[in-house]
Amino acid sequence: MMLQQVDPTLDPNFEPEVLWFALSPILVLVGGALFLLVVGALTPKWPKGLSAFCSATTAGTAGVLAIVNWDDISDRGPQTLVAGALAFDKFAMWATIVITVSVLLVSLLTDEFIRDTPNDGPEVYALYLVAAAGGIVMASANDLIVLFLGLETLSLALYVLAASNRRSDPSAESGLKYFVLGGFASAFFLYGIALVYGGTGSTNIGEMVTAIGNTPAGDNDALVLAGIALLVVGLGFKVAAAPFHIWAPDVYQGAPSPVTAFMASAGKAAAFGAVTRVLVSGLPSFRDDWQPIIVVLAVLSLVVGAVLSVVQTNVKRMLAYSSVSHAGFLLVGVEAAAHTAGDATPGFGISSVQLYSLLYAVLVIGSFGVVTVVAGTRDASLASFNGLAKRKPLLAVAFTIFLLAQAGVPFTSGFVAKFGVIRAGINEESYALAIIAMVTAVITAFVYLRIMLSMWLRDADDEAPAVSVPFSAGVAIAIAATFTLAAGLYPAPLIELTESIRLVR
């Protein structure tokens, strides 16, 4: 079966290793998860922090393997793996890097957050790793069924993670809510796959594109268009784009903060990977049909996310709505990619989306990291951040950096990310969308200012609980803050890497 995939330009003797090695990031993550679960169950209680260490190491290893694979792709060109089921291209590897970096940072955050609680143990970390493997499959899938497998792997792990604080009602509620609504969305997505299969005769993205190209226009359009509509509903739910965002604030608020960080970073990166695979890679000849849908989703996400974030009083909900608005920004990049979907020379759309998802992943983990440290398992009300600058100046500085970056202030990674997608949009002459995006960014800036205001200018309540920064969480936040600033000051290397991203089918 694999022999079909041999690229004649490659040395045939070398080929099997390349293929196994190409899959290595996923294999390492799954292996790490199994190791944690099996060995964790069979051995006595592990020393503190060992599970988190295992999880971080596994993710780091997978990330390094992805970087090595990236170089291989640079040298030998992209290809498809496992009978065309997975794409082995720079897009997939970039998504792998984003997701593994997220797992690494989130593991550091989780460590002392669940330590000495009944929730401690290897399970949470194993779920992170499984979810990451699912996310990577989503972003590298070259077959809709495979993509669905990845999506379900990621989603099921996330449902459990959301409910993983077993002593907390909001956490259970958030897990259940996510599960029910997510199950709905998955059903939509699956039905969409079925309809597209009916229209094209294949679920393989490469074969789909060939089939559509060979069919006279209009023959099976109705089936495929209906399929696209359902696929977009499913994907819109996963990326938390308005009007499919309703679950996000509740789930983000109820889930344990590190899990929220994971959903907002790795979850979003994987979901946008899937959006790109399905729409840009898989359905380029229908780009005129789905591009307007993306415009509507983008505008709604930007406006709804911005406006509703203003009226929140809970920081986690604020950040949840702001992540809806960030999804809108990412959709601006997808919209730009729509204009050149399937063309030989892609515009800046895909590379800007990938750049955004890396930069956003790091800074959103940093943001929720600070929330984790400050609020703990308590309600993350705005008042609990009062006077943080006096109580924990460095933490306040870090949070300020993250918030400024979310607002898109220059010299932070957030500015570079926004610049990238807006630039991609303007290059395709989507001026109106660009202006709407920037104006809504002003509205969300108000939210970030409110948080900064309470940190810097308000005094803490007398009975405010003391904030202590655990070592590993501190490391994660420091890494995220440093990266946010460094990428803002000198983004050229990252931009160069993302501009070489191409899709293969």
Partner: protein, 541 residues
């Protein structure tokens, strides 16, 4: 043509302009690293770095070649190559004195005012603000300009919010959001400019000079883009009706914040119009001039009337800024060499005189803990030197001949009268209104018998006098002998006016474009002639 000139200077030499941005930035970092137990270190470092920046600007002034109309001391490096973004700095006659003003105003503001708490972050924010303002005035790359233009909001937000007065949170947020909203449009417009210009430039670049000289942007497109930029600048200036953030921000800001805000930050808007509006989109600027002239004149009259009504001295000065900046906008959109030269001079003058007025208001507040005009009276009796200093600064703000304000306003009105006659006629009324509100305020605050509360109003301290001295020197020197300034400003302004004339259908009559006659050929005496003739006219009025 300018691109060739631009690279002629500065290659390999000491990166003077970059240093002017990095010194305060490093200073800010150093201030943050000082220990809490030794607050005097923070102040010392802040003074040293801002003072050093000031010294660098003076050195730049000395090195500046007054005959060269192009950009000088250019520093050009790649920064984000993939996006066509470079670190491109340069100074010409239009930005020269604004940079010097920035360099001198900051150390004075740092010495002049002691914040009431948490000095360390306060100083760090001020230094960061200085780096941002410097960067905005020196940038010759659209992207670079934008990030400096944006980044100044953050320190200013924290300065107002952290060290301001009773209503500071509202004022700081309003200031930030207003300006940020304006920038949103500029952000889109500047990326679009780079892409649209790339068709004729053969590649995407954000370099101001390249786009302006070779951009070839279609007329209608350029008008849209111009408005994208103009909204950001109009908010920053602020032009009526986008001015409402200004009185709040000025009044609530700590004294040093107000000084810097009025002194240099408002000029980012008017400077932006000259450097980016007119230079990039000359045709669009000419096409929309009636709008800007009308809004400018409304601003002049409205600002003056609103100032007259104020009960709070600081708010009064804030509204007077709206009026003064109206004059600058009027001059900018008159498109004559004289008027634009006047605008550039007036930007500096306004920075000096309004900066000093805010210092005085700050000192009054420190002494009396109030800024209400009704609660102040008879201060001249108890503090005559203080009153005299205030008087000089105030007269400069009114535009009395012999002081700096007159030179700027006179040049603006003279230059505008030729191309925007009726607007100028109305604007002239603003000059009289300025006399009305400032003299009336002076009368209420300083004249009469002091009541009990004002009996013990302390006299001007030596330190305050020393801080005031540079302001007074600048006021009198510019008023009496403006030639050194004009000589340096005019070549660049002439070039800009010629650029506008060459790229638009504005009257190409040479008398509109090169009005240097009086100031170019003649020397000192002729200025005084001009002043005398005008002062006679004012006497008649």
């Amino acid at each position: 043509m300018i691109a060739a000139e631009a690279t002629s200077v500065g290659a390999g030499a000491f990166p003077l302009l970059s240093a002017m941005i990095f010194v305060p930035m490093i200073g800010a970092t150093a201030v943050l690293l000082t220990t809490k137990s030794r607050p005097e270190f923070a102040k010392l470092i802040a003074l040293l770095s801002s003072g050093m920046t000031g010294a660098l600007t003076i050195y730049m002034l000395k090195e500046f070649d007054r005959g060269d109309a192009g950009f000088q001391m250019v520093s050009k490096h790649d920064w984000i190559e993939q996006w066509g973004i470079g670190w491109h700095l340069g100074v010409d006659g239009i930005s020269l004195f604004l940079v010097v003003l920035t360099g001198i105003l900051f150390p004075l503001a740092i010495v002049g005012v002691t914040p009431h708490h948490d000095e360390k972050p306060y100083l760090a924010w001020l230094l960061m603000l200085e780096a941002g303002v410097m960067g905005s005035f020196l940038s010759l790359d659209l992207f670079l300009f934008f990030i400096f233009f944006e980044i100044v909001l953050v320190p200013m937000y924290f300065l107002i919010g952290g060290w301001g007065y009773e209503n500071r949170e509202y004022a700081a947020t309003k200031f930030y959001l207003y300006t940020f909203l304006g920038s949103a449009f500029m952000f889109v417009a500047l990326i679009a400019t780079a892409f649209i210009a790339s068709d004729s430039l053969g590649g995407v670049t954000f370099d101001l000079v390249e786009i302006a000289e070779g951009g070839n942007i279609a007329t209608t497109t350029a008008r849209w883009l111009f408005f994208g930029f103009a909204i950001a600048f109009a908010v920053k200036v602020p032009i009526f009706p986008l001015h409402t953030w200004l009185p709040d921000a000025h009044t609530q800001a700590p004294t040093a914040g107000s000084v810097v805000l009025a002194g240099v930050m408002l000029k980012l808007g008017t400077y932006g119009f000259l450097r980016f509006g007119l230079y990039l989109f000359p045709e669009a600027a000419v096409w929309s001039r009636s709008l800007w002239l009308t809004l400018a004149v409304i601003g002049i009259i409205y600002g003056a009337i609103a100032a007259t009504m104020q009960k709070d001295l600081k708010r009064l000065v804030a509204y007077s800024s709206v009026a003064h900046l109206g004059f600058i906008v009027l001059g900018t959109f008159a498109f004559t060499s004289q008027a634009i030269t006047g605008s550039v001079i007036q930007m500096v003058n306004h920075g000096v005189s309004t900066g000093a007025l805010f210092l005085f208001v700050g000192w009054i507040y420190e002494r009396r803990k109030t800024r209400q005009i009704a609660e102040l009276n008879g201060l001249q009796k108890v503090a005559p030197i203080f009153a005299a200093g205030f008087m000089v600064v105030m007269l400069s703000s009114i535009g009395v001949p012999g002081l700096n304000g007159f030179i700027g306003e006179y040049l603006i009105l003279l230059g505008s009268f030729q191309t925007a006659r009726w607007w100028t006629v109305v604007a002239t009324a603003g000059v009289i209104l300025a006399a009305l509100y400032l003299l009336w305020a002076y009368q209420r605050v300083f004249h009469g018998e002091p009541d009990e509360d004002n009996q013990s109003f302390p006299e001007l301290k030596l330190k305050e006098g020393l801080i005031l001295l540079p302001f007074l020197v600048a006021i009198v020197f510019t008023g009496v002998y403006p030639k050194p300034l004009l000589d340096r400003i005019e070549p660049s302004v002439d070039r800009l006016v010629a650029h506008v004339a060459a790229n638009s259908d504005v009257e190409t009559d040479p008398s509109y474009t090169t009005q240097r006659g009086e100031f170019d050929n003649g020397h000192g005496e002729e200025h005084e002639d001009d002043e005398e003739s005008h002062s006679e006219e004012e006497g008649e009025e």
